[in-house]
């Protein structure tokens, strides 16, 4: 293939081509919806058409084998309208046209070992980044943490136990937080200390000669550091040296993102817990989450410490929040100090109790 042709991209347009027929036919015509237990929504169109969606939880990092996926395709063909929809949060929705079939789909996928749930005051899903599955910068492994959490929290997904409001959890293997860190509960792996480096190999990330430094060149590994914790200097022998100033470092990992020879001591690594984030404009509106517990050890495969902490956060929230209150809305109302008190969290430099002020998202506009 020629370069020019190869460079041209095939893009998923026109978009209506991609929609199952019944969806295409009812585009923008939805007038009502009904929930049928957790995980099943009936969408009612002004044309009289109905679509039922059955929301199925998927394995951590939304990873499936083609074998498993084919089983879902079969179900969708047999009991559905020939369409599946993935949600932004990794749940797999099978589309069908009657409640009957929807309930049968539920039964079948449950028999396959896949739970149906989410929507309303439940756990909607746990988002996990890829981490040890494929990622080079991962500090901890997010999918395995997610697996363990899901195992314990499944009743919150299926709705056997309900919550005050929606709960989403994000798990990320490093501070890049590909899992996202502005949802209700966010677990983010980090070094727990300033990074180290391989004194020999680090040279690959530095200019060869001290002259470059003198000429004002700042190598990227130092340049990206938001706190100027990385100092690069010319040595008397004409080579280049690097120092990491621990006092300034915030363990953000940006140096690691650009230099493979920045390293860390895995025994000091842990997860930071951030809570209270929201994108939705409900309640107190969108808000960022805050780091409330700077460090919890993360020891595979059972991660008991993480599970206990997450369960306690959920319990404290469940017992104290009002109906409909997301974690962030609740903490917004009672104050972070109160949350710390209930959780017995000691306050320190890395988890200073803050009060968020100002409005975010659409609330920033006068409409």
């Amino acid at each position: 293939m020629s370069e020019a042709e190869r460079l041209k991209k095939k893009l998923p347009v026109p978009y209506t081509d991609w929609l199952p027929e019944v969806v295409k036919r009812n585009l923008g015509k939805w007038v009502d919806r009904k929930y049928h237990g957790y995980g099943v929504i009936e969408h009612i169109s002004e044309t009289g058409d109905r679509i039922f969606t059955v929301k199925v939880g998927t394995p951590p990092n939304f990873r499936v084998s083609t074998d498993t996926l084919r089983k879902f395709i079969d179900v969708a063909d047999r009991l559905g309208v020939g369409g599946i929809k993935m949600t932004r949060n990794g749940n797999l929705e099978i589309l069908t046209d009657s409640l009957d079939k929807a309930l049968k789909i539920k039964e079948e996928v449950e028999r396959m070992g896949f739970p149906v749930g989410g929507w309303g005051p439940t756990l909607w899903s746990i988002n996990s980044c890829t981490a040890y599955l494929t990622c080079t910068t991962a500090v901890l492994d997010a999918p395995s943490i997610t697996k363990v959490l899901y195992d314990y929290l499944k009743p919150y997904f299926t709705g056997e136990i309900t919550l005050p409001a929606k709960l989403r959890i994000n798990v990320s293997g490093c501070p890049s937080a590909c899992g996202g860190f502005t949802t209700d509960i966010n677990l983010v792996g980090h070094y727990g200390d300033a990074p180290t480096y391989d004194p020999d190999k680090i040279k690959l990330c530095l200019p060869k000669s001290a002259k470059a430094i003198e000429a004002g060149h700042v190598p990227e590994v130092a340049e990206v550091c938001p706190t100027r914790a990385i100092r690069v200097y010319g040595k008397p022998d004409g080579s280049v040296g690097l120092d990491i100033i621990r006092e300034k470092c915030i363990a953000c990992g940006r140096c690691r993102d650009v230099c493979d020879w920045i390293d860390f001591d895995e025994s000091k690594a842990g997860v930071a817990v951030l809570v209270g984030g929201k994108a939705s404009n409900t309640g107190r509106g969108p808000m960022p989450s805050y780091q409330v517990i700077p460090w919890v050890p993360a020891i595979p495969p059972d991660y008991v410490e993480i599970v206990a902490v997450v369960k306690k956060i959920i319990d404290v929230w469940r017992t104290n929040a009002s109906e409909g209150e997301r974690i962030g809305d609740w903490i917004g109302r009672v104050g972070m100090k109160k949350f710390y008190q209930l959780m017995k969290i000691p306050e320190g430099k890395w988890n200073r109790a803050v009060e968020s002020q100002g409005e975010f998202g659409v609330r920033q506009f006068r409409i």
Binding site: L7, K9, K10, L11, P12, V13, Y15, W18, P20, V23, L27, W30, H43, G57, P59, F62, V64, S65, T66, T68, L69, R70, I73, G83, I84, K85, M86, R88, G90, L92, C129, T130, Y132, L133, T134, T137, D141, K147, Y150, D151, K154, G173, T182, E220, E223, V224, P226, D260, E266, S267, A269, S280, T282, G285, P286, P288, G361, Q364, F365, I367
Partner: protein, 415 residues
């Protein structure tokens, strides 16, 4: 990255790896390890990583001809017994992430035959991720093209777009998120940027149909959120019916409105919503739909500069403008990116500065004025400019004199 300290000998490491992997197949939730084991993915490498408590993967250099984004390749670190490699493609997902079964069968075929049989059904940004092997990479690109999609969306480029399901399934959608998902891809300037990574850093576009913000547009480099002007629309008759039937408790609806905009007259059974107060929280709507619906005058709120981490830490999007169509904001997107790139040339923006960092660096007001030339929505700070005085020329003074004289005329009889 170096080998973990105190790394046990290979046999021990492999044994520990097996144990951990087995452990992760237990429990009631579907296991990713169980899935991995059904594929040709190097599960052993993953297990060794878990046993060693360090990522087993290092960067590799597999290239696919003329495909400059969307390809990620790794080799196992030298301390991983038996080594291994891993390659995956980020593939453009479908609009709304609808997967017709016939198409999906083709995907599984490609995955099975040209890849390792492992799929990430949706990446955290919104891509479809397919693992494969280096030998079949070129072939897989062609195969994906033949079914109407392609590889793309990594590095310093426009990333996988993300749009909520919108009008395709959702009764709240205030504009056609999926149409605009496609329009963005079609725009030549966006398209060019999808092809080759030349930005200071990644750029993400997110579209939500309504203030629920299911696509987390709030946190995109640029985000579009459907809104309406004024109060939600009330179908009073239906509302009363739902109250009578006990389905709705009006007092609760009043109480849950975060802006105190709703009042319910029990006597007259009248529900009133003060549009000027309504914060578009969707609270009343989600409870009473379709007796209460979003208002009819539909708009799109555009926010800019949201992201995680970046140079100056994570940020929520800042308000840009309220528009009637995404189209109106297309130029701003391009201008923002162009200026971001220009500022990198000037040395103001550095590699790995997100749009939000760029705006922090040049100042939000300057961004609005100089980059997109959009008037400020409101005063985002506590200070507002408070001054009296004006420097007027004859003409302006004459204009105001005339204006005043009309009022004097109007009020003459009353003075």
């Amino acid at each position: 990255m170096s080998a973990p300290k105190n790394l046990p000998p290979p046999e021990v490491l492999l044994k520990r790896s097996e144990e951990i992997l087995a452990e992760l197949e237990r429990g009631p939730w579907p296991s990713h390890v169980t899935e991995l084991k059904k594929t040709n993915y190097a599960t052993r490498v993953y297990g060794v990583g878990l046993a060693a408590r360090k990522s087993p993967w290092g960067p590799a250099a597999v290239k696919v001809e003329y495909v400059t984004t969307g390809v990620l390749s790794r080799w196992a670190r030298d301390w991983v017994p038996g080594g291994g490699s891993e390659l995956h493609f980020r593939v453009f997902h479908t609009p709304g992430k609808f997967l017709k079964t016939d198409w999906l069968r083709q995907v599984t075929k490609i995955s099975k035959e040209l890849g390792v049989g492992l799929i990430e059904l949706v990446g955290q940004t919104g891509a479809l991720v397919l693992n494969l092997t280096p030998e079949k990479a070129e072939e897989m690109v062609d195969a994906l093209r033949s079914i109407g999609t392609d590889v793309g969306g990594s590095g310093d480029a426009i990333r996988a777009l993300n749009a909520c399901v919108g009008p395709a399934l959702c009764e709240y959608a205030l504009y056609d998120t999926l149409k605009w998902y496609a329009e963005f891809y079609k725009d030549k300037r966006v398209n060019d940027a999808i092809i080759s990574p030349s930005y200071p850093y990644k750029f993400k576009i997110k579209m939500s149909g309504c203030p629920m913000d299911c696509a987390r547009a709030n946190r995109g480099d640029i985000g579009f959120i459907g809104v309406w002007v004024g109060a939600p629309e009330v179908d009073l008759e239906l509302f009363r019916k739902k109250v009578e039937s006990g389905e709705l408790d009006p007092e609760k609806i009043v109480a849950r409105c975060p802006s105190g905009a709703i009042s319910w007259d029990k006597e007259k059974k009248e529900l009133k919503i003060d549009g000027s107060r309504c914060k578009k929280s969707m609270e009343c709507i989600r409870t009473a739909f379709p007796a209460i619906k979003p208002g009819r005058e539909r708009k799109i709120a555009v926010v800019v500069g949201g992201h995680v981490k970046g140079r100056f830490g994570g940020k929520m999007g800042k308000p840009l403008a309220v528009v009637n169509s995404v189209d109106e904001a297309m130029d701003w997107v391009i201008k923002t990116i162009e200026s971001w790139m220009e500022h990198m040339e000037k040395g103001v923006v550095k590699h790995k500065d997100r749009i939000g960092d760029f705006i922090t660096k040049i100042g939000y007001k300057n961004y609005l004025k100089d980059v997109v030339n959009v008037p400020e929505v409101g005063k985002p700070t506590l200070h507002t400019s408070l001054r009296a005085g004006a420097v007027l020329d004859e003409e302006e003074r004459a204009m105001w004199s005339k204006w005043v004289s009309e009022i004097v005329e109007e009020y003459k009889s009353r003075l």
